[in-house]
């Protein structure tokens, strides 16, 4: 009876297990967490209503400053003090600009949504892309995160494949024939030279690890920008209302515009280009052509006179190069895309520094300082 019960339980377990065998597993994806779960926690940081107090204070300060400046202008006109008149005029213009800025952001970051999406879609419109369409800033950040995270994990898969190849090579290199019947004789290890190939193949891990690292850092950097940088917009507006803190206000606005608006839009556009099938095929073919030329001109011809294992190593190694360069090409292009976007954004900071009167950002070589 007990045996039957146990058998029944096992059978029931197997049936139950069988019915759900094909169930798909959820893969660990931080992008869903960063832009869905965290949205409920930090969503307020990128919502205009959170900062309505700051906007109110800014309006109040602008009105107060305008009243004082108008009074100064009147004194300047009455006593014919030209420096006071020009100062007052300048201040009135600055405060009018601040007023327009506040009106622009008072409606929320919805206004910025259009700019961000416009830049991103303009960049990606030149190619047919597999990227999902974007509807707002959050979806742009999410989509870019997914792309770079996916690529980073693709590189980790390449790393595992590389480990498998090194495994195969190490097995082949360890093959030995022992002819020592009485503990004395000879041992052949005919493929020991493959160890050299194993070392060479191991060197491919350097670019793969570098690309993975940069792409992963980019994923989390985007989240930091998305949640924290809106604070710079509102603080920038508040600081711009005081004459003494106007420059730092301009600098914060410059940081916000460059990194919140342009950075994700630029890397989305670049990833759209690299994600398009035609660009991927083109990159693969160009790299393969060059690698084959390299193999024909350098590796084989220069070693034809050398010993045979050397020639074999070089041929296999060059084939490995072709294979791996082809695999990591897209990740490499994306990494260069990130670096180019960063350079453009740091240049934009300087441009906005000029525009918004922030001397710290004007021709200050911000990029140079960071590097």
């Amino acid at each position: 009876m007990i045996k039957r019960t146990i058998l029944l339980v096992i059978l029931a377990t197997l049936i139950l297990a069988r019915t759900s065998y094909a169930q798909t597993q959820t893969s660990p994806d931080p992008c869903n967490y960063l832009y869905s779960a965290l949205q409920s926690t930090f969503g307020a940081l990128s919502t205009a209503s959170t900062y309505k107090g700051l906007i109110g204070y800014s309006m109040l300060i602008i009105l107060s400053v305008l009243m004082i400046v108008a009074f100064l202008y009147a004194i300047g006109m009455a006593f014919k003090i030209n420096s006071l008149i020009s100062f007052s005029r300048n201040e009135i213009l600055e405060n009018v600009l601040n007023f327009i800025l506040i009106l622009f952001v008072a409606g929320g970051i919805a206004g910025i949504d259009g700019v961000v999406i416009g830049i991103a879609q303009f960049g990606s419109s030149v190619v047919s892309t597999n990227q999902p369409s974007i509807t707002n800033t959050a979806s742009l950040y999410h989509s870019t995160c997914e792309y770079y995270y996916g690529d980073a994990f693709g590189e980790i898969s390449n790393l595992i494949l590389l480990a498998v190849e090194i495994f195969a090579i190490s097995i082949a290199s360890s093959i030995r024939f022992n002819l020592m019947p009485n503990g004395f004789g000879v041992t052949f290890q005919p493929f020991a030279w493959l160890n050299l190939l194993s070392k060479m193949a191991g060197s491919f891990s350097v670019p793969i690890v570098a690309i993975t690292g940069i792409e992963l850092v980019n994923v989390y950097l985007l989240a930091i920008i998305y949640y924290i940088f809106p604070l710079f917009l509102y603080l920038g507006i508040l600081f711009r209302t005081f004459p003494w803190t106007r420059a730092i206000g301009g600098a914060l606005l410059g940081l916000f515009i460059s990194f919140y608006v342009f950075y994700p839009a630029l890397i989305y556009a670049i990833s759209s280009i690299t994600a398009s099938p035609s660009m991927q095929a083109l990159a693969q073919s160009i790299i393969k052509t060059h690698a084959i030329t390299l193999q024909a001109n350098f590796f084989t011809s220069s070693l034809t006179t050398s010993i045979n294992p050397g020639l074999t190593i070089s041929t296999i190694f060059s084939s490995l190069i072709i294979e791996y360069i082809g695999i990591i090409a897209i990740g490499g292009i994306n990494t260069i895309g990130i670096l180019i976007s960063l350079v453009i954004c740091f240049d934009l900071i300087e441009a906005f520094g000029d525009l918004l009167g922030a001397p710290s950002l004007t021709h200050g070589g911000v990029l140079k300082k960071v590097i």
Binding site: Q23, F42, F167, T245, A247, A251
Partner: protein, 340 residues
């Protein structure tokens, strides 16, 4: 952390309160001296001195206004309940070690402390050893064929071990070095935050006096900007950025454990049984653990490298622009570069 909080409280209660009244007395004394010189100047027939002194008296009067303004700002800063404001924006992680009704300095210190000792950096340090073991896990293939049975030294053999450490071994050392440096960088930030109130009080007070005189006006502006930059903007940035990272990391950590469990056993009893019976659970557990550790590593690397850089860029920008507004252009990052 308690030592740092004690040192902050000591600064806040003892020398800090004395600095602004002392500066006020010094400014008043300067006005009295200047007034005496102003009265004596016509007696010796030096109208030029009289003109210069009158400008200096205006500057001193303006400085008294600034001393009062900065004194009020400093009093507000040290009594301001930054913790509740940041908590209302979810930028402060509520734990048992969190200080209650903390000011800006205590909040910044707590955020930095949690990040280093309980949060992303501490866990990255802990998981490094786990990653090391995981990378060294792998099958070893050993094959031996003997021509004469029983005679092991006559035949054919092959051996190979599969582990990711064969590819990544040297990187573990680099990561270890990087984590040590990140700990040092965080400790340096602790020191800066602990000293921030006294830097604010001394630099701003000295700067306000220094900017009265024409020859030290630019130096005074620089001191004020440095004092406000390091004493106010830096702790504010640390509270915001590290508060965000701690809360985000805490949630990520919780989601990671849930994620590993879901990937290992599935979402219902049937899938749990299927995974256990087929042995898929072990594979799923290993892969999802490795992936999640890589996620934590990416998060920690970003937080440890980008946040100090971002905070320093903002402080540098502030000091540069504010010092120019108050007297002199001072490039804080160039100053740092020159020292380093």
């Amino acid at each position: 952390m308690q030592e740092c909080i004690n040192s902050i409280n000591n600064f806040l209660t003892a020398p800090y309160t004395a600095w602004f009244p002392i500066t006020l007395v010094a400014a008043t004394l300067i006005i009295v001296i200047l007034a005496v010189v102003y009265l004596l100047a016509p007696l010796v027939g030096r109208d030029d001195i009289k003109r210069n002194i009158s400008i200096m008296i205006y500057q001193t009067l303006f400085s008294i206004v600034l001393i009062l303004a900065f004194g009020m700002f400093a009093t507000w800063l040290c009594s301001f309940n930054a913790e509740s404001l940041l908590q209302s924006l979810n930028l402060n992680l509520v734990t048992t070690i969190a200080p209650k009704n903390a000011n800006l300095y205590e909040t910044a210190l707590y955020d930095l402390y949690w990040f280093t000792n309980y949060g992303a950096l501490a866990n990255a340090n802990f998981f490094l050893s786990l990653v090391y073991y995981l990378l060294n896990i792998g099958p070893q293939l050993s094959l031996e064929i003997n021509f004469i049975p029983g005679v092991q030294t006559l035949g054919f053999s092959a051996k190979g071990s599969f582990s990711l450490s064969s590819v990544l071994d040297s990187y573990i050392g680099y990561i270890n070095d990087a984590i040590s440096w990140l700990f040092i960088a965080n400790d340096l930030q602790f020191i800066i935050i602990s000293a921030a109130p006294i830097i604010f009080a001394i630099f701003v007070s000295m700067g306000l006096i220094a900017r009265i005189f024409g020859f030290s006006r630019s130096f005074g502006g620089s001191l004020i900007a440095l004092g406000v930059g390091i004493g106010f903007v830096y702790p504010l940035m640390v509270s915001i950025t590290y508060g965000f990272i701690n809360v985000a990391y805490y949630q990520l950590q919780n989601s990671i454990f849930k994620n590993v469990a879901v990937n290992t056993f599935g979402t219902n009893l049937q899938s749990a049984l299927a995974n256990l019976l087929t042995g898929k659970a072990i594979l799923n557990f290993l892969t999802s653990t490795i992936y999640d550790i890589i996620d934590i590593a990416g998060f920690t690397a970003t937080a440890s490298l980008i946040l100090p850089l971002l905070n320093f860029i903002v402080v540098n920008t502030f000091v540069l622009d504010f010092s120019q507004a108050f007297g002199e252009r001072l490039d804080f990052m160039s100053l740092l570069t020159s020292i380093i």
